[in-house]
Symmetry: C2
DNA sequence: ATGTTCTATGAAAACTTGTTCACTGTCAAG
DNA sequence: CTTGACAGTGAACAAGTTTTCATAGAACAT
């Protein structure tokens, strides 16, 4: 997976935000104006790059017509999220859209063969609501059973400052788990909300990816 | 609220479906081809009508650029859904999108002052997944407390054939309630899943609006 | 009958938008 | 130093797309 340059990232984000705010894609000249390019060709080149790098799909000749490709695939099995690159198997854009106060936009969730693919949700700068970058993850495993989060449920993760007691998706030593955040003094632990699990895992390098704000359960 | 003609409805639905499937709006010529009009002006007239009737907003001059306006507002307070017409107060398109297997599209949910506005979700004809016309409702009241559906939760309603035991949104004598469907022989009852509520309400005229498939709970 | 509205045709105009071409400068690798 | 990739300017072209204009039949109320 080729990395995006700073400007390519900015343009892609702007396009997503534009869709989120207006419900239709920006034209090349819209992007040109936003970034104060003197030529449309500057935008054109970046769009080509974005397509070449596989994160954007253009519809040739059609105006304001694009598709986005999920950039991150997360598989939460046994309470562990593994990140995979995109582009391997066919990804449909039909899926589970975001739950929460996310502005109008395209759902960035795809479910295929038991894997819930997620992507950073587009943020609407014009949106007055919060919950930027929220995403959903399907839970596999029972480590949070005491918090009424069961296997098969889908949790909604939102970035933010995690407090003591929050259920967080945390990246621990390269793997992401869903656990409860415990702060004791200046020490931080992660606790599985399952009486059968060992308690209070001490954490070396802790990266909180987000806080579980809500859970979607099948009836 | 002016009523839409059959063709206007069909065109609006097609446009929504197109967005749901492709993530961008159809051009006038796309619509023309779909409905086999001989002139683009036929489509143009219908789009004007749709805008005049307030269900569609066009962006003048811009290609493939539209916004949709929620058509139905539902307020589920005290376990009762009241339908209101649109156009009264300002409606934002930012809101709670659909939960479930809905194709990529615009979230049709708006929350304003404790009212969860819903709209028929766009259906993607190209989508291989089911769950057409699903919508979300916020629950007020405790009549389903025994089914673990509490005040403040959001339930996802999907149309379909309701079976015995399903939790349904049913239109009873002009009002919609959320209850469990009980079939005994050829008789149909609705049962509140709360031990404090009277049991087995017999139903005169029963219109099942949909089946509660999942529930969104705050953590 | 008569006017009005709705729906549609057919063609063209006007504008929007994607795309191409020629050229320039920067920056790092070979 | 040279090469190539990257980013950008400026202009123009070609296609896509909306919009307008002129016209007409059907349905319907007055």
């Amino acid at each position: 997976m080729e990395e995006l340059t700073k400007k390519q990232r900015a343009i892609l984000d702007y396009m997503k935000a534009h869709v989120a705010e207006h419900t239709y894609w920006p034209s090349i000249r819209d992007i040109q104006a936003k970034f104060r390019f003197a030529s449309t060709n500057a935008v054109f080149g970046h769009l080509q790059a974005l397509e070449r790098k596989g994160v954007l799909q253009r519809i040739p000749g059609a105006a304001r017509a694009y598709k986005i490709v999920p950039e991150v695939v997360a598989d939460l099995s046994d309470n562990v999220i593994r990140y995979e690159g995109p582009g391997d198997d066919a990804i449909e854009l039909n899926g589970i859209p975001l739950v929460g106060h996310i502005a109008a936009g395209f759902p960035d969730y795809t479910e295929s063969s038991g894997v819930l693919n997620t992507m950073q949700a587009p943020i609407s700068e014009g949106s007055r609501r919060r919950a930027p970058q929220a995403f959903a993850l399907r839970v596999r495993g029972d480590s949070m059973i005491d918090a009424d989060i069961h296997d098969g449920d889908t949790v909604i993760i939102e970035p933010g400052q995690a407090k003591h007691g929050d259920i967080v998706a945390a990246l621990i030593d390269g793997e992401t788990t869903l656990k409860r955040l415990i702060k004791q003094g200046n020490k931080t632990y992660l606790q599985a909300a399952n009486q059968n699990y060992p308690d209070l895992t001490p954490v070396q390098s802790l990266v909180i990816q987000g806080i579980a704000k809500s859970v979607v359960k099948s009836i």
